[in-house]
């Protein structure tokens, strides 16, 4: 043992907070006795002990202990009867009974009744024949308390103390709703260090100043001493209010678009197939329009826009416009009227184009928001996702301009390196896939789906084949990377702890 210098002891004593001082005289006792003697509650005593541990005066050891306690239903059953006992008591007076009678007379809920039948049958205390419940137990058997009942009487108790038959009963009861609650408790003990032993049992005089008060300021005289703080001691955590981290990211997205001179489009999430597919030259038998990919809405049918537009879109599909062959099939109005949850924000673009006037050109629009696909939910899939989308309507726009916008957007998002390759979408030609180089991950990731709207889209909506550059960065993937999330479900889980702990959007 290294001898402790008297200075160290003195300095330690100067750092003691009021609660530490309170327990100091009783440190030779175990924790529960300290609580009794010092006049503080358990939480404060534990805090004081932790402070002392930080200061090197003692060493805490915590052992976990499982306590078996009664749940909400358990409390009720202990006071009254377990449902199977209620049923037995009923059958003792009246047997046999039909299932319906037994259920009614016992006043048990569906679930309780079902469980009771199961339990009693497995103990061979009743028989079920021809839909009747027949008592099959002797007086003696009836008078005896079951293991489950005995266990209820015993609770609460420590898990370790349970005998094998009590464990068996516990397993049975655990399967039932809210009868048992198992709590984890911590037992805390401690050992004094050498310096701890020197201060234990001491009464510390209160001549050190605890806090600065208005009174103290007024009456301050030189030479008084403050209690020393342990500035390394952990402090309770603060919880701040904040935007949902997904919305922080979408707000950032909006800012980028606005800086680039784009106007925001908003619109409904429930739209007609017409705006979501037909106006975008997606053939009516295209697989994306099948039920297993898209959420259609039951019992409703959309109104179609002005007949001129509908006719032009129909012609575009059936025989083509502006020199196109079209898809060469019979376009069906009813199919276009099917209502759905938008599968992309491009349905906002198609609506915007249909309302645009020539004098508004050139124009730039963006949208950002939730889109939907009929999909199961796992770590990398979900039925909702965030999409953003930009369009530029400019009679002079071309493919190189499209790449220019994409490169600029990538740069604003913090990606210096970008590359492009051909791709395919039903409503754009040429089509582009844009990839950016992620410096952290050291890999190329696809973020842009882009292209120039086909004349089969622009002629029906704008009246002439004006180039419309369009692109949509996939947002969720970027967000997952930025927030270092591995599971897509986290974006929508609303786990309050996650929301509280999630750091802010970086840019």
């Amino acid at each position: 043992m290294t001898p402790t210098r008297q200075d160290d002891v003195q300095q330690l004593l100067e750092t003691l907070s009021p609660i530490e001082k309170k327990i100091l005289p009783f440190l030779q006792f175990p924790v529960d006795q300290i609580v009794q003697k010092c006049g503080l509650d358990m939480t404060s005593v534990l805090r004081a002990l932790r402070f002392l541990e930080n200061k090197g005066a003692l060493k805490l050891t915590a052992t976990n202990k499982k306590i078996v306690n009664l749940g909400v239903n358990g409390l009720y059953y202990k006071k009254n009867h377990l449902p199977e006992r209620s049923l037995l008591l009923l059958l003792e007076q009246q047997t046999p009974l039909t299932l319906d009678e037994a259920k009614k007379l016992s006043k048990l809920s569906d679930n309780e009744f079902k469980v009771s039948l199961g339990v009693l049958k497995s103990k061979a205390l009743i028989n079920l024949t021809n839909g009747k419940v027949v008592l099959n137990a002797s007086k003696e058997e009836l008078s005896k308390k079951s293991f489950e009942e005995q266990l209820l009487d015993l609770l609460p108790t420590a898990f370790e103390k349970l005998a094998p038959e009590q464990l068996f009963a516990l397993e049975n009861l655990k399967k039932r709703k809210d009868i048992i609650e198992i709590e984890e408790r911590q037992d805390v003990s401690f050992q004094l260090t050498s310096i701890g032993k020197q201060i234990a049992g001491k009464e510390v005089s209160a001549d050190l100043i605890e806090e600065v008060t208005p009174e103290l300021i007024r009456s301050w005289t030189r030479g008084k001493k403050f209690r020393r703080y342990d500035i390394q001691a952990p402090v309770p955590r603060l919880q701040g209010g904040k935007r949902h981290f997904v919305n922080q990211a979408t707000d950032y997205g909006k800012r980028i678009w606005l800086e680039m001179g784009f106007k925001e489009m908003t619109g409904n999430k429930v739209v007609s197939s017409f705006w979501n597919f037909d106006a975008l030259f997606t053939a009516q038998d295209h697989p994306v329009r099948e039920m297993h990919d898209t959420f259609f809405i039951k019992d409703v049918q959309a109104k179609l826009p002005a007949p001129e537009i509908v006719q032009r879109v129909k012609k575009s599909h059936e025989e083509g416009v502006g020199g196109s062959k079209g898809w060469q099939y019979l376009w069906n109005e009813k199919t276009a009227q099917r209502v759905l949850l938008r599968t992309h924000t491009t349905c906002l673009s198609s609506q915007t184009l249909s309302k645009l006037k020539k004098e508004d050109l050139p124009a730039k629009f963006f949208a950002i928001g939730k889109c939907f696909r009929n999909e199961t939910v796992d770590w990398k899939h979900g039925f909702e996702f965030n999409q953003t989308e930009g369009i530029v309507i400019d009679p002079d726009a071309n493919l190189r301009n499209l790449l220019g916008y994409l490169a600029e957007l990538a740069k604003k998002m913090g990606f210096e390196k970008v590359r492009f390759q051909p791709s395919f979408f039903p409503y754009t030609e040429p089509s582009v896939e844009g990839m950016v180089y992620h410096e952290g991950k050291k890999e190329w990731i696809e973020i842009f789906a882009a292209g120039i709207f086909r004349p089969e889209v622009t002629i029906p909506l704008l009246g002439e084949p004006i180039p419309v550059l369009a692109w949509g960065p996939g947002f969720d993937r970027l967000m997952m990377m930025a927030y270092e999330l591995g599971d897509m479900r986290d974006l929508y889980s609303n786990d309050i702890k996650l929301l509280r702990n999630m750091s802010f959007w970086k840019q």
Binding site: G320, N398, E429
Partner: protein, 542 residues
């Protein structure tokens, strides 16, 4: 989407597989999905089903890498005697069209048979929309006698042993009992007669789009001559699909023979003569932002498998995706190289503008965040059991065939908020949340029959009426709107502690303490007080 593997040795015949070569392959418009030890796996986008076979891919590859540029020519022989398929008019509303061919001089082995079947399946699932639009049958010629008839028959008059079966079945039995029959039965649903191909001796070759006969419809390694038919509803697609198939077989070493397909008039298939399409150099340069010359087109287009002369492009008969000049212009860009296109932002000034909704959301959110509230963001769909718990009846807006338990569009933000509290019982209290989001209800007035509005929800637990009214007061003062409260009722709130919120004189929402019964239903153990109102009035003001 379909992915196909091609042996590296096949590609290495034309170019060493350097990193540069892989980069170039990605610029072809047929992206590489993965590079394996022996093979390169590529992805076929829906516009290029002609590359669903390795042969088709190699054709595109050789052209793009400049090894065999230009339109590939195939020899097509005229129909021989009895190379005839008669199409009966009884098929009219059943499966009216077929395009057919015969291939000779094939040498099959197990690998080639597998390749053929794979190709057939891939065409079925992509272009064929799972056999609805296109079904392909391939038969060993030695087992059948020409000419062939395509006709419609009553199901019970169709009897043959289907592939992978041991006994004869009739049409109905095949649809009910045979695994492939069951899988595709819906395609013949409700028809009185089914389509069949029958040979000259009356033997049934197949029941398209379901299955071939075991006897006459199974290609083996002994087969050297085959009969191919594509059946469906759109003759032009059938012809293209047939062209894709016959050129694949020709690249395997086969010789293509035409057949006479006899409707009211005779049509000869396959027809591999290219389609002539006019191309404007001016349009090309304008759309791509390039300054190409006529002679550039003469070198660029052949690299995508076209021939080009004086403003006219010869489009291969197996390309299904050339609907418009722009489709060819894209191919010019691909031949030019997307990597060589220099990005350029035009100097066009436009003014950015945030939507009213976004502005309002930002304002409300920053006020509430200042009060220490956390913003939530929940699914727009709620679970069926939640809808039941909230006693939603006829008015609920339901999706069809959802793959998860989330099936119904949320009518309010209270339901998701209660879900949040019930799922966060183990997290530290107090829990104070808000959400701004869209809610849905049926409405005859709206274009889709569904009306949407933006709502704000605030909920705190544990909390009481006073706590939330303080928040509402602060919010209205800071956001610059006034509200009025009057006593009201709400199925989930405690009577006497429920207020109806009016903004600009219009009732838009409520404030109140959630009833213990509702809390119990949701298995929530702490008191909750909520505010929910529509932002309609706040939006219409600005």
């Amino acid at each position: 989407m379909a992915t196909i593997k091609v042996a590296k040795t096949e590609l290495e015949k034309y170019t060493p597989l350097t990193p540069q070569a892989y980069a170039t392959m990605n610029l072809m418009g047929i992206p590489i999905e993965a590079v394996h030890d022996q093979e390169v796996e590529y992805e076929v986008l829906p516009n290029r089903p002609d590359t669903l076979s390795v042969q088709g891919y190699l054709r595109a590859f050789k052209a793009y890498f400049g090894k065999e540029p230009g339109l590939k020519k195939y020899t097509v022989k005229k129909p021989e005697k009895d190379f005839v398929v008669r199409v009966d008019s009884s098929l009219k509303n059943i499966r009216p069209y077929t395009a057919c061919a015969i291939i000779k001089n094939l040498a099959f082995n197990d690998a080639k048979i597998k390749e053929m079947i794979d190709m057939q399946e891939k065409l079925h699932t992509t272009v064929g929309r799972n056999r609805k639009k296109l079904a392909i049958g391939i038969y060993p010629l030695e087992k059948i006698s020409l000419p062939i008839t395509f006709e419609a028959r009553k199901p019970k008059d169709i009897r043959f042993i289907p592939l992978e079966s041991e006994r004869e079945m009739n049409g109905l039995e095949i649809l009910q009992r045979h695994p492939t029959g069951r899988e595709y039965a819906s395609l013949l649903d409700g028809l009185e007669k089914y389509p069949v191909f029958v040979d000259n001796k009356g033997k049934i070759l197949s029941l398209p789009p379901i299955i071939n006969s075991h006897e006459t419809g199974k290609v083996t390694y002994q087969t050297s001559e085959i009969f191919i038919e594509c059946s469906g509803f759109d003759f032009s697609i059938l012809k293209k699909a047939l062209n894709i198939l016959v050129t694949m077989f020709a690249d395997m070493g086969g010789t293509i023979y035409q057949m006479e397909v006899v409707y009211d008039n005779k049509v000869i298939t396959p027809d591999l003569s290219p389609e002539k399409v006019k191309l404007s150099l001016e349009h090309t340069n304008k759309l791509l932002g390039l300054n190409l010359k006529e002679k550039d087109l003469e070198t660029l287009l052949p690299r995508m498998g076209y021939d080009y002369a004086k403003g006219t492009v010869m489009v291969p008969a197996w390309r299904v995706d050339i609907l418009h000049e722009v489709d060819i212009i894209e191919d010019i860009a691909i031949a030019y190289g997307y990597d060589r296109l220099i990005p350029q932002i035009p100097k066009v000034a436009t003014i950015g503008e945030e939507s009213e909704e976004s502005k309002l959301t930002r304002k409300l959110a920053s006020i509430l965040v200042g009060l220490g509230l956390l913003e939530a963001s929940t699914y727009h769909l709620i679970k069926e059991e939640e809808a039941k718990r909230a006693k939603l009846g006829e008015e609920k807006v339901e999706t069809e065939n959802s793959k998860t338990e989330y099936k119904i569009l949320r009518p309010n933000l209270l339901i998701p908020a209660l879900r949040i509290f019930s799922e966060n019982k183990d997290n530290e209290y107090p829990q104070k949340i808000f959400e701004i989001g869209t809610v849905f209800k049926k409405s005859k007035l709206s274009e889709t029959g569904i009306a949407e509005s933006e709502h704000l929800l605030i909920a705190c637990s544990p909390s009481n009426f006073t706590d939330l009214k303080q928040i509402l007061d602060y919010l209205s003062k800071m956001a610059g709107f006034s509200y009025a409260l009057k006593e009201g009722t709400h199925q989930d709130l405690i009577e006497g502690r429920t207020g109806v919120i009016s903004i600009h004189g219009k009732e838009t929402g409520f404030i109140g303490e959630v009833h213990p019964e509702t809390l119990q239903d949701w298995n929530i153990k702490m008191p909750v007080t909520v505010i929910e109102f529509s932002l309609r009035e706040l939006l219409s003001k600005s």
